[in-house]
């Protein structure tokens, strides 16, 4: 049964040094507040898993939290490069970053296999690309019924999933809608989970197209209003596109980045107060 706790407690309990952590949210509901709490708590040697690393992993990588990145697209959407990610790969700053890269279809299927309790997933993908040559863990597999050769990708089984949702009820049932992405699969594939929410309500009224994660399938729920900013929570906030554009200049320079992180992350406290 999900425990409803303050964000600081949820991160302290669920995210440990050396863990494999999947923070998901496909261009929507990105768990920024939770990620920044991981930075404040000084977690190290993380293997970060995420389809679209985005600004959220630029911050974690630039602050030296990550040892390894498993991903499929690492850019600032619509703007350009993730400069901290690039600096780590190209120059080893602040620490070398190992990468394992896949395609979106491959990553999505890896999560789905993890959520399904299967060791691998099958798809048509990667054929003819250089991805398998350079570390993407994929292998050919022959269909036992037709003889067709397809591609197998291994399941993702992270230690912990971290996601943001619109709301939860007091029993920890979580409801999210809009672009629902890969969060359900990430939570179900992981051993532990932290879900931050805009609000905790008495009753979850039905929403068209919503994903509901039953409280018994969720680890920790923490209230973090605005916790997806500069991403957004459909129905609660708009994507802060200006910030995504501004991040380019903030992140381009190592000192400017560290200054920004000190002022906006390290010297601040997690949103949500006592959590309930």
């Amino acid at each position: 049964m999900a425990e409803i706790v303050p964000l600081t407690d949820a991160i302290a309990a669920a995210v440990h040094d050396g863990d494999t952590v999947a923070m998901e949210g496909f261009t929507h509901l990105i768990p920024f507040a939770a990620a920044q709490e991981v930075v404040r708590q000084g977690r190290r040697d993380l293997t970060l898993v995420r389809m679209t690393p985005d600004i959220v992993y630029d911050q974690l990588i630039g602050m030296g939290c990550a040892r390894r990145l498993v991903f499929s697209w690492g850019g600032n959407p619509g703007v350009g490069s993730l400069h901290r990610f690039r600096d780590a790969v190209e120059n080893g700053w602040p620490a070398p970053l190992e990468v394992e890269e896949h395609s979106h279809a491959g990553m999505a299927n890896r999560y789905a296999a993890g959520a399904s309790g299967l060791p691998f997933a099958v798809l048509r993908g990667y054929a003819g690309t250089d991805l398998p040559v350079h570390g993407a863990t994929v292998k050919p597999i022959t269909c036992p019924f037709t003889g067709e050769v397809l591609t197998a990708v291994p399941a993702l089984r992270p230690d912990v999933a971290v996601v943001h949702a619109q709301r939860a009820d007091r029993r920890g049932n979580v409801q999210l809608w809009g672009i629902v992405g890969i969060q359900k699969e990430a939570v179900l594939a992981s051993a532990r989970s932290v879900v931050t929410v805009e609000e905790v309500v008495d009753e979850l009224d039905p929403r068209p197209g919503a994903v509901v994660l039953p409280g018994w399938a969720v680890g920790y729920v923490a209230r973090a209003p605005g916790g997806a900013h500069p991403s957004y929570a459909h129905g609660y906030s708009e994507r802060d596109n200006d910030f995504y554009v501004r991040w380019d200049a903030i992140s381009r320079d190592r000192d400017a980045f560290r200054r920004w992180m000190r002022e906006h992350v390290l010297e601040r406290r997690a949103p949500g107060g006592s959590g309930g």
């Binding site: 619509g78 279809a105 798809l123 629902v180 699969e185 596109n241």
Partner: protein, 262 residues
């Protein structure tokens, strides 16, 4: 040089000509898997002009989005608000893209080679120590494999149009005729490459990209100078691209003013 937006005869920039030429490739009623940036601009321009029933599918899982402004990202809320259906990421790739339901995939790239293979991963010969680390594959490899056909948009320069890509992120025609069939790729592959200088298409016999059209004011020599392999003109010679109409330009400029506005 092709960067920036130099004024062209007729009062449009090279970038505008590229967006308009790309939009014209889309036919009304098609289903189109759209990447962000130029592909999204061109697809929305097509919707605003000659193809109002174009079905836009974004990899964020929004199917049939009808934004009235240009999204900054593939996840802007307006894409979900205006969609016929919003599905999960595994669903958009497994149920909608993989079986070949999508007519056309619209892709950009940092490098395009003579067989229309695309690189969005790394620049430089050493993957572990890249000269430039690019964002990576995203949905592109399976879009290039599974859409019935593919349209590529890229600015024309020797940096981009190379003899051989440093990394094959997405397969065009591999190393030539027969490779797509041998690899079991479901779609027909790149049909057209739109640049800010002209239009390239694969030669039906060799699969090599050849120049089929030059935009207004551009010479064959300019296109060759901006290409990293000996660029041939299509048999019968390159056509001349029709300049943007007043309606196309007005629609494009209106869209550009709305980019990323929430």
């Amino acid at each position: 040089m092709t960067g920036g937006t130099p004024a062209r005869p007729g009062g449009h920039s090279a970038a505008e000509m590229m967006a308009v030429a790309a939009a014209r490739q889309l036919r009304d009623g098609m289903t189109c898997f759209v990447g962000i940036g130029l592909p999204s601009t061109a697809a929305n321009l097509a919707r605003a002009t000659h193809a109002p029933a174009l079905v836009l599918v974004y990899e964020s899982g929004t199917i049939g989005s009808r934004p009235d402004r240009l999204p900054l990202s593939i996840g802007d809320g307006i894409l979900a608000d205006t969609a016929d259906a919003v599905v999960s990421v595994p669903e958009v790739f497994n149920y909608w893209l993989q079986p070949g339901r999508i007519d056309v995939g619209f892709l950009g790239a940092a490098q395009v080679d003579r067989f229309a293979n695309l690189n969005t991963t790394v620049i430089g010969p050493d993957y572990r120590h890249p000269r430039v680390r690019l964002p990576g594959a995203g949905g592109a490899p399976e879009i290039a494999a599974s859409c019935r056909e593919v349209i590529v948009v890229a600015r024309h320069s020797r940096r981009t149009f190379v003899e051989r890509v440093d990394f094959v992120t997405s397969v065009g025609f591999g190393s030539g005729p027969g490779d797509r069939e041998r690899l079991g790729l479901g779609g027909a592959g790149p049909r057209t490459v739109i640049t800010d200088l002209g239009v390239l298409e694969p030669d039906p016999r060799t699969c090599e990209l050849v120049l089929t059209s030059l935009h207004p004011g551009v010479t064959l020599e300019q296109a060759r100078a901006a290409t990293g392999w000996p660029l041939a003109a299509a048999r019968g010679g390159a056509r001349r691209t029709e300049p943007p109409t007043a309606a196309e330009l007005a629609a494009l400029r209106r869209l550009e003013r709305t980019r990323g506005v929430t």
